[in-house]
Symmetry: D2
Subunit: 287 residues, 4 copies
Amino acid sequence: VPKAVSDHRALLDDPAIDAIVICSSTDTHARFVEDAAAAGKHIFCEKPIDQDLATIDRALGAVREAGVKLQVGFNRRFDTNFARVRQAVASGEIGEPHLLHIISRDPAPPPLAYIKVSGGIFLDMTIHDFDMAQFLIGDEVDEIHTAAGVMVDPAIGEAGDLDTALITLRFANGVLGVIDNSRRAVYGYDQRAEVLGSKGAVSTANNFPNSAVISGPDAVRRDLPLNFFIERYTESFIAEMNAFIDAVASGGPVPVTGEDARVPVVMAIAARKSHDEHRPVRLCEVA
Amino acid sequence: VPKAVSDHRALLDDPAIDAIVICSSTDTHARFVEDAAAAGKHIFCEKPIDQDLATIDRALGAVREAGVKLQVGFNRRFDTNFARVRQAVASGEIGEPHLLHIISRDPAPPPLAYIKVSGGIFLDMTIHDFDMAQFLIGDEVDEIHTAAGVMVDPAIGEAGDLDTALITLRFANGVLGVIDNSRRAVYGYDQRAEVLGSKGAVSTANNFPNSAVISGPDAVRRDLPLNFFIERYTESFIAEMNAFIDAVASGGPVPVTGEDARVPVVMAIAARKSHDEHRPVRLCEVA
Amino acid sequence: VPKAVSDHRALLDDPAIDAIVICSSTDTHARFVEDAAAAGKHIFCEKPIDQDLATIDRALGAVREAGVKLQVGFNRRFDTNFARVRQAVASGEIGEPHLLHIISRDPAPPPLAYIKVSGGIFLDMTIHDFDMAQFLIGDEVDEIHTAAGVMVDPAIGEAGDLDTALITLRFANGVLGVIDNSRRAVYGYDQRAEVLGSKGAVSTANNFPNSAVISGPDAVRRDLPLNFFIERYTESFIAEMNAFIDAVASGGPVPVTGEDARVPVVMAIAARKSHDEHRPVRLCEVA
Amino acid sequence: VPKAVSDHRALLDDPAIDAIVICSSTDTHARFVEDAAAAGKHIFCEKPIDQDLATIDRALGAVREAGVKLQVGFNRRFDTNFARVRQAVASGEIGEPHLLHIISRDPAPPPLAYIKVSGGIFLDMTIHDFDMAQFLIGDEVDEIHTAAGVMVDPAIGEAGDLDTALITLRFANGVLGVIDNSRRAVYGYDQRAEVLGSKGAVSTANNFPNSAVISGPDAVRRDLPLNFFIERYTESFIAEMNAFIDAVASGGPVPVTGEDARVPVVMAIAARKSHDEHRPVRLCEVA
């Protein structure tokens, strides 16, 4: 049912509408979630619900009270590469997990104006990797240590943010992980994961626009990987939306709940605190 | 405009319809092309137009006379891997082409009943590779030599067909090529190409459902390549149809004409003749 | 025992010497083999024994009569990549073999002066691939079809030779194979093999000086493969000599006999005849 | 000059000997270095010189006083993969380095008896990676944070050691690095490095016994990587010894000095201290 309205309440009042999708700017998410919940609509909301835990908790309370479904847009869980890593861990194919690596680098930093309102690299960029870490290992992170700096653009540092980081995670089950973030990989979007387990390891590579290899007089080369999230994650965006529609239609659970989506925000806050205080920080200190 | 009719003439009589898509069984293609041309409709027709050259020529004559567009479904030209090989040749990136390899293996043979009406492996399966060969090199094949046998299933031989072949091509410009066909690659659909040129080489690999590599105690392994044409060529089917729609909408030329599509049929006939007569056969002998 | 003499007979007369290694120019091989056999020495001789079958047969007769061991230098059988392909075929790992590909390209053509006395591309270059083909499949070739041309350098054609070829092989057991030869691959020495069997396929890649992959703003690239046979086959040269020494020391059979080494010469003659007469040629026509 | 003696002093007294190679057990290294220096011999000593900084410093003092050359056996610098990474950094090929990853996993833990005298994972195993980190980046590490645990074998923990670790490094120039260590990768020796720089990235893969890929009905697979250091680093052991011989013969500097070799010991001590005190530790705290 295609419908355009100037006020979102018009949508919420329409009894023909079962569910709504929120992909507005982050500062409006929580309010829209609350309004939609009050109207009894199921909700798909882009991540994060908010940068503030109290605001998130109020929105999640409204969702619980209304008994509607809320799915948050951590689309990467639906990517075939990351899903295959999760399968290798969950099925026991590689035994008990020991070590996790997530490489997550953007091709170029966003505009400074955006960086200033983004909540910082951990809330804006690493948040996906925090979700991925827990998804891949299937356990909660207990402690975070951040080593970070400004290497890409001094203006990012002047804006109070960081652009390069190695974030060490200690999971409750003892697994150790590291997230590698950079705001600029000149060769394009770099999105990989690797898990070492007691019975083997699984690792993924980047996705490329084609498989052609050119052997010339100077080098053997191939075209750059897919440049950014629109190209790289196209199929996962479709898959996550299909999963939401299935959950609404079938009455089953959504694959990424509001509670799932709250944790990466806690992790982002802990990561920044670790950087500021120059020490490992436990999630229970900030949650 | 979705519309279902029991007789295709009802579609042809509908003035609201500009173009039709023919993907019925091969023996109906030529007749439908002629009817559609007579009705002034633009036509997208699955390959081949027919197994018989005279029938093809009558259909192409009808298309020419009616002044409508005809695009034939050689979808692989729209695959990003093969398109990249073509680009490397056409742009001069690898210099003048010298040698061409096409590997084209099905995961399993079709049912015997189908094989008996398929026109044989060269008209049914290799026809795509014949088109690809000319597309990649950008020149016409002059001579064909076939070395073939029955290795996959004796019943295919009893039905008068072959299931395994190496077909050598000599192009008018001197380039040499080989097509490798098998009706059964147990690891899945194998679709690769390689060109050696004076300034370099280009080669493509198969497409996989994910990039995950699993290192276990016995081997380093990955999941099998995409199993068959539906999965492997999904995007190319969409791209070829978009190209047809663009051509109809813009009035521009179609990317694969009826004349383009006639040549692979000639090549298939020559390939079988080479096998039967145990000698190289020039296309001018059968065209 | 290091020893330098001006006349090879001085070596042959030395009773302290058990075996000799012949790596002089090809036209001297057969004579040295005969002399060494007459002196009762075991012999390692670089390939080929001669370009002429009658001369080879006379040398082989002398070896048989003297009861000495003769190993011929088809070193590539000792390369770990090709040995792994052979193992996959011989062990049944890929089932019954159906199709074979050998890619064998030099980085650059030899000097014209050498080409003029080389016996032609099939005796000089393809001879290694002819041996490899039989080694990998473990069966004899019955028929050869050559499609060849001059694409690298017209002067090679003027010297009566060819520089680019696709040679189709039909084995006695029905297997079909193709050898791809070029005198110039600008990216370096290209030495690969692939076998499709009823239960799988095996393929090898080129060897590189390191495994480093560089991702830059324009491409993902790696250094060129090892440039030529000295670097590429170092370990195989050592391994074949060790195998010869073992055979002499243990009294066991040599891994590549004079009879093994005769066949590729027959194949080279058939390949040229196929080119000259523009038809498939059976080995029994020339053997 | 092959020579076997029961007392090393007999070697040191021999005026025909210019240089000696120490590859005895670690607890004898420092004493032998001092004796050899006193005898005026050039010295190649396996790493580490000792586990104790004061003992190392006394040995280095003896070397300086005697004016002899001392090269320490950090052989991995001579490996072609790691050397290529260093070249990419040193030449500016990837711009200014930002992030470093070293993956270094053994195929299986050593015997417990060895672990008990090894000095712990950081002095025994990570010491190579500490050296590699400084070699690749070309700068000194300023601070270390260790996240480690016992996941492979509880007996290792009972012996007071660790078997799995992620060690974060902050270099003086701001570069951030992480070393991934495990005492057991069931697929074999895992030795990789990766550097992200401002103009690109470089990464290496493991070395394999052959390049063969087997495509079967269940997976596409290859043989396991080279299993352990003898196979994996054969060429680097030869290259480092040649470099030492060259330095002695030419009178030039050795490529890995005693001072170079002291730093990884400091790093190992800091890494353990970080684990014990659960905080980042600066090298200046322990040096």
